[in-house]
């Protein structure tokens, strides 16, 4: 299977991966970490947060690419930590922090990329639109109960037409995967209920098998 191995260089280190793997995967396999905010190993990469940008040189061309969606190619040279990349990354995190100043996940990212002072006015948004919940609902749960509405800065994750979803099974995957903790599970007396943007669903525990099920 030698033909399926691809050799690339990341930060001067020779790395090899399988054809079809992304730069991010190969880098992490070789102990080189690249920060990410919308990446989850169980989900198709979306390439939307752009925190994982790296400089990729292939042939004569050097470009800034999102490492999570860039497949490796023979002879590729990757730089994950140049001054330019650090500056772009800082700016991207600053923009996210300006949207959601209170989110721990963004504050940690800001610390990590060395953002000291945010040049933009900060707002108190609770969702930075990584889209993991949307992907999980459609790819893992297989129902697609939530999606994006509106455009640009007004984008938000909602159920279709913002009414209670008829297909949501109340599984809570969106809440589990949400890095911002925008989706939450909470206890109501002995029952638990789940708040999604589509509404509220009660969750019961089976007295026999102890498993959780959603109510009608």
């Amino acid at each position: 299977m030698a033909a399926d191995r691809v050799n690339i260089v990341i930060d001067g280190k020779r790395c090899s991966g399988l054809r079809g793997q992304t730069v991010l995967e190969v880098a992490r396999d070789h102990g080189i970490d690249i920060p990410t905010l919308c990446h989850h190993e169980a989900l198709t990469p979306a390439g939307s947060c752009r925190v994982c940008v790296v400089e990729v040189t292939l042939g004569k061309r050097t470009r800034t690419m999102a490492s999570c969606v860039t497949p490796i190619e023979q002879g590729m040279k990757v730089v994950t930590d140049s001054e330019k990349i650090r500056s772009v990354r800082r700016m991207v995190v600053a923009l996210l922090l300006a949207r959601c100043r209170d989110l721990d996940v963004i504050k940690q990212a800001a610390k990590r990329v060395g953002l000291k002072k945010n040049p933009f006015p900060e707002e108190d948004g609770d969702c930075f639109l990584c889209g993991m919940c949307v992907r999980a609902c459609s790819e893992i749960v297989g129902v697609g109960a939530i999606g994006f509405a509106n455009r640009g800065p007004d984008s938000e994750v909602v159920s279709p037409f913002s009414v209670e979803s008829s297909v949501c099974i109340g599984c809570g995957t969106c809440a589990t995967i949400c890095p911002a903790r925008t989706f939450t599970l909470e206890k109501v007396f002995k029952r638990r209920s789940m708040h999604t943007t589509g509404g509220k669903r009660d969750i019961f525990r089976c007295t026999v098998c102890e498993n959780h099920y959603t109510g009608a």
Binding site: V51, V69, P71, V92, A98, G131, G152
Partner: protein
């Protein structure tokens, strides 16, 4: 015209063409009325009805009357051209119809008052080709606009239409067709300028059985109407180009993605599709060649980002119009995961003439790396607003001054904005730059799909940047951080600068942010969104500085930074401004200098606009 039966072979098509050509007397008088969207807005359809009524009344039913696609000279509409001489009338109204029929149609005489008079030389132009606006153009894509009725397939066939398709199906192999397109040097007219033949070849090489082609008619740049006019005025040319492309690539299904805001384009394309299917130029076994191909129209809901190819495909599939990362490119993995070739409307319309006349002919036009012609919508502060088609390599000066007639009110040119919101502003001192893909990129702008906005000395470049960034903020899909959040922050900074609240450091912050957005964005919308900011910062940094440090808008546009004031020694007390002011801020008796109450003034500029002494004695009401 006689109903056309199904064309079962190449010979059938030629026989039909022969019949149509013979039935038409080239010396007969015919009337062509522009029925493009611009002239329709000026009432050209009323004109059409009136011509028909009066021709019938006078027993002149045999005179051919045509409602054609856009003639281009939108500024002077409605336009009427009398063939065979091509006598050109502009600004025609219903009241002129009787005279035109009596004098021009019956006696072949021209009506001088309706002819175009060159505002510079004063010379009267009798024929369309003599009008400077047209004389300096070269029309390949617009070869039929103004000549044929877009809703008549017979008209298209009579002028040689579908001849290129017949040639392709009759004797050329797919590889040969791709070779011709490659040799011609045709590059994508949607903006990026990727070599069309190379794209076709990549798509052809894909092993998939099923392939698609798409015509991208999602024209969304403010002020751009090139593709619209092609789809409205010559829909069969687009279909013919697509059919040739599909044959070369090996696709059996095509889609035209057109904005629902273009109702005339949708209706003319729908009509063309129906006619083509009826006569067998679309569908199964086209012209007896064994090749099957059909096209569907998909109407876009007006999202600018859907002009981006991956977002467009998502929209065609019925999903939200958001781009996805490339690779894989559409030629490998496009619509429903199948190889898909996407070209812009103008690119498709260029295909038939290349196949018909050969790649050498096409490659002889234009510059070293940009071949053929380019259609531009020439708008803004220019005398001859309209649609133009020029050879690649024509300078901006020729476009603005020779074709466009110069800057409105003979003011000084400040910049030309090319490439729409993703483009940039080229300053007046670079006016001699030849327009092609490379040269525009060198000047910091892009070719884009062909918008050309002329800006005069009264344009504030910071305000222009703010306008485009605001447009892009609204049109950003919201998927990736730099575009969604970064463009919003750029707009905030620019709004603050225009509002007189710019801070030291804003320019540096704008630059740093612009570079991050350009580098890190997911699709072309985001990665080109900072261009209006970067080019204006590059060429007009002094204007930014004047706003921030001197709290002054040199072009007197930004309302927060200007004060309107009556200059008593110049004011004649004519009261025009008093009447124009919507908030009654100006008062004063006739013949005496007026007073302007600053507490009431909303800075709308109406007084400044109407003051007649602006030109004669300088500004009576001037801006400080």
């Amino acid at each position: 015209m006689a109903t056309t039966t199904r064309l079962a072979s190449l010979a059938d098509l030629e026989a039909l063409r022969k019949r149509l050509v013979q039935a038409h007397d080239p010396k007969a008088v015919s009337i062509s009325i522009c029925a493009g969207t611009g002239c329709r807005a000026h009432g050209s359809m009323d004109l059409f009805d009136e011509f028909r009524r009066q021709l019938e009344e006078r027993g002149l039913e045999h005179v051919e009357l045509r409602a054609t696609g856009c003639h281009g000279f939108c500024e002077r509409g409605p336009l009427v051209v009398i063939f065979p001489k091509k006598i050109f009338y502009h600004g025609v109204e219903v009241r002129h119809v009787a005279e035109i029929i009596e004098k021009t149609v019956r006696q072949g005489e021209a009506i001088e008052s309706l002819l175009y008079k060159d505002p510079v030389t004063g010379e009267v132009c009798l024929l369309e080709d003599e009008v400077p606006f047209y004389a300096r153009q070269q029309r390949i894509v617009f070869r039929n606009n103004g000549k044929i009725d877009p809703t008549s397939i017979e008209d298209y066939i009579a002028v040689g239409g579908y001849g290129a398709l017949a040639k392709a199906l009759g004797g050329m192999k797919p590889a040969g067709i791709i070779g011709e397109i490659k040799k011609s040097g045709l590059r994508g007219r949607g903006g990026a300028g990727f070599p069309t033949g190379v794209k076709w070849e990549l798509c052809r090489k894909q092993p998939s059985e099923e392939k698609y082609i798409i015509c991208n008619g999602d024209e969304g740049d403010p002020g751009a109407f090139m593709d619209r006019s092609i789809m409205e005025g010559d829909p069969h040319a687009v279909l013919e180009g697509m059919t040739i492309g599909a044959f070369a690539i090996g696709a059996r299904k095509g889609f035209i993605y057109v904005r629902a805001e273009y109702p005339l384009a949708v209706s003319n394309l729908t009509c063309a599709l129906e006619q083509s299917r009826e006569v067998g130029l679309l569908g199964e076994n086209i012209l007896g060649s064994g090749f099957d191909f059909d096209v569907d129209i998909v109407r876009g809901a007006g999202a600018f980002v859907c002009g981006e190819e991956t977002a467009l495909m998502a929209s065609v599939e019925g999903r939200e119009g958001r781009p996805r990362p490339r690779p894989p490119f559409p030629v490998e993995c496009g619509l429903w995961g199948k190889p898909t070739n996407i070209n812009n409307v103008e690119t498709w319309a260029n295909v038939p003439p290349i196949i018909e006349k050969g790649s050498d002919w096409y490659a002889s036009l234009g510059t070293a790396k940009s071949k053929g012609t380019k259609v531009f919508s020439l708008v803004g502060k220019v005398k001859n607003t309209g649609l133009i088609e020029v050879q690649m390599g024509t300078t901006l000066r020729e476009i603005v001054y020779d074709i466009g007639g110069g800057v409105l009110k003979d003011k000084e040119l400040k910049a030309v904005q090319t490439g729409g919101p993703s483009g940039g502003c080229i300053p007046a001192h670079l006016i001699d730059v030849p327009v092609d893909f490379e040269e525009l990129a060198k000047a910091g702008s892009i070719m884009g799909s062909g918008g050309l906005i002329v800006m005069d000395e009264d344009t504030c470049m910071v305000d222009v940047a703010r306008y485009f960034v605001e447009f892009l903020e609204e049109e950003s899909c919201g998927k990736c951080t730099p575009c969604r959040e970064g463009v919003k922050r750029m707009r905030e900074i620019l709004t603050r600068i225009c509002g007189g609240e710019g801070r030291p450091g804003d320019i540096d912050l704008l630059e740093e942010l612009a570079i991050a957005v350009k580098e890190a964005s997911l699709c072309g919308l985001g990665s080109t969104a900072p261009n209006p900011v970067l080019t204006t910062l590059n060429y007009f940094r002094d204007e930014y500085e004047a706003h921030i440090f001197d709290k002054r808008c040199p072009a007197k546009v930004c309302k927060a930074l200007i004060v309107y004031r009556v200059v008593p020694e110049k004011c004649t007390g004519c009261q025009r401004c008093v009447r124009a002011c919507p908030v009654n801020a100006i008062s004063g008796p006739r013949s005496q200098p007026h007073n302007l109450d600053q507490s009431k003034c909303i800075k709308c500029g109406a007084c400044y606009e109407v003051c007649r002494f602006d030109a004669i004695a300088g500004d009576a009401i001037y801006v400080e």
